[in-house]
Symmetry: C2
Subunit: 454 residues, 2 copies
Amino acid sequence: MSIVDPISQIFLRLERRNQPMHIGGLQLFSVPENAPADYVHQLVDRARAQNAVQPPFDKRLKYRFGQPFWIEDQDFDMEYHVRHLALPEPGAIRDLLALVSMLHGALLDRARPLWEVYFIEGVTDNRFAVYTKFHHSMMDGISAMRVLRRFLSIDPGTEHFRVPWQLPPRPSSRSHAWSAGLTMLQSSYRQAAALPAAARSLYDAWHDAHHDPDFTGPAQAPACILNRPVSGSRRFAAQGYSMTRIRDAADAYGTTVNDVVLAMCASALRRYLIDLDALPRAPLIAMLPVSLHDDDDAAGNRIALIYANLATDIDDPVERLGAIKRSVDYWKRRYKRMSSEQIMAVVAAMSAPAGLNLLSGLVPSRQSFNVVISNVPGPDDTLYFGDAEMLGMYPMSIVLDGQALNISLVSYRDTLEFGLIACRRSLPSMQNLLKYLDDALDELEHAAGHVPHD
Amino acid sequence: MSIVDPISQIFLRLERRNQPMHIGGLQLFSVPENAPADYVHQLVDRARAQNAVQPPFDKRLKYRFGQPFWIEDQDFDMEYHVRHLALPEPGAIRDLLALVSMLHGALLDRARPLWEVYFIEGVTDNRFAVYTKFHHSMMDGISAMRVLRRFLSIDPGTEHFRVPWQLPPRPSSRSHAWSAGLTMLQSSYRQAAALPAAARSLYDAWHDAHHDPDFTGPAQAPACILNRPVSGSRRFAAQGYSMTRIRDAADAYGTTVNDVVLAMCASALRRYLIDLDALPRAPLIAMLPVSLHDDDDAAGNRIALIYANLATDIDDPVERLGAIKRSVDYWKRRYKRMSSEQIMAVVAAMSAPAGLNLLSGLVPSRQSFNVVISNVPGPDDTLYFGDAEMLGMYPMSIVLDGQALNISLVSYRDTLEFGLIACRRSLPSMQNLLKYLDDALDELEHAAGHVPHD
């Protein structure tokens, strides 16, 4: 029995029917050639047979005197955690997305370990999918993505068959910016020592707010339909975009890949909001959690926040890209001069209002940011689940009151996979954003004089 | 805009993640011969095209000053309410039950009209299923069963295609005993006038509790695993039993069909609890809501409660049937001498503790009854949804803290369809009850010297 850590308690406390606090991922696989007709059925049976369940997958909540603890689930029910579903004929991706949208909108059962895995057969072109959900109190987004990768292998073969709950987890690394911020607020000595420098940095930021045109900080975000209270129903949209194309565009404009990604998101959001006659006059602000270290292990809990100006008030796509780049570069310059402790202190101070807004469950009266865009680097190599090749993996994040859209990205091979999760009611026809993302990349390519690759 | 009536407000207030307050039904249909491969897909398209949504299907909740109102949903989303799913190959009934168990365990989205319909294709032997869920605040069990029947036709043919949300509902008739009891407690003149007689009747009941061996009343129920707090996961089990066989057994023993049904439930529960080493020493008590009128319309809201002794302490099945019959007959004799107002007053007084226990969300310290068994008469004729023959319909009711199992029955043609819904965690392997129900009927037939029909 162990006490639930304070950050995880926050995720439990924030959860409501309209605001489930689980994260997830959708993975698409190819059924191997010459596989038997009941291939997925066999996979499910094999997965369910792996019943030596490792922590934290074997832990359920138990409340004592109002305090939550993790205890071992004595009645672990593998059939409950590992489900087998199918798509109606002909198994269109559209139907797959509708199904996982529905699954992602349903609350986990708190009487059991807070995870579920769905094997979904019958995806068109001889494919199957795996949708996994974890409660955020059990695992953060980066750990979840890591778990979803660790059970895969670079070698195909049934002898490499592994399931996530077989693997002992690595030390948890809290990734979400505001949760890191809140952790910070609980204060550690090292961080306290960094506070004077942080205060100086915050003063600089405050100063810049009046003098530096590239400065974008919290509480500059306009009111927008993205920031309404949310319903309990979700829409998930996912698509991969060629990393080569994005990298070429970045080279053409002298920006980073990330700048181009933000420009794509900005153009798509601008057009989507114009469709709905809901584009704010002031530019949208995106909040980007960025890792301060390149190695993906223990240091992964050092993250910083960038408040990016999406420049959605600018009509020209190339000008827009430039404005975005300048606002991101501002934070990069600033962070470069600081130690990671100082950065964390700044992040904590800046995200406190956002964190407290989330905590209180109120829609902020002053909007800190309009949308979260997070980008997690993924594997370059082709990965396999047993002998099934993984064709794509798409992150599925959390929608909150006041944050009706979340854009998460993960790279895989030469593809940058976008996973967009939204409140289905606040953001009608959200799936149009996928096309607009595509158009945005085309637009940048054309303006640079490139011939699009396809 | 109309205010949500007090009983419906109770259903809304009782709802929690582990205690969804919706009811449902599972219907099984035969795909017509020579139907196209995308037959179910066409049905779904056709159903979604019926977008002239009638009340109450077009109403969603809106809270003003803490008070819930029904308002028209201006963003009605037909794709959200009408879903299209499929079973994995080969479409075993076991997989169908697993799927609807999962669906029945998920909370409805309160930002939308509180109903969902799922068309499930790929059931083995060329069948498909329809699972429908309604929030209990929108519709009671009898109304829901009526809605599920009204869109069906006795004539097959695509021209008879109708969907539930096309039909204006008949006046609501609250069926659940304790809700009727609570309505009563809100007092009407007629009922107040009946109170002296009701008081007399309660006095008699109290007197009988000490003197009449056949008397079974509330608060005599033993502690049992059926009456634990529940989790948020469900297990649904369903099966049809031959009405001819049940009727023959009833004739052989000089009992009613209902007595035999109770004896089947009693034997099955006894054996299930013995398996788990959890049979209470004292007999289980079932609560049966019974209609006071035969015609199924406006008068349908007049219902009485019977507390039946299931005689699970008796080993011999025939003796057990006799004891059950005597306890049911006691209430029938008593109710025969009373007007329906007097009966309602007694019911209200008797169910108040049960109702208040439910309201407060506490597991009763004194158990009123162990299990609810409700039996709704259904259609004798073969019914069709468009040109698809309905093969069976199974009611799915509510599981509550303290009531981890609900047994609902509905008759269709020569079959009595049992729908058992349970907390999956409190009642492991609950599906064994289906086999034990079967065995119980066999046993009664053998004891009567019948040769079983099959």
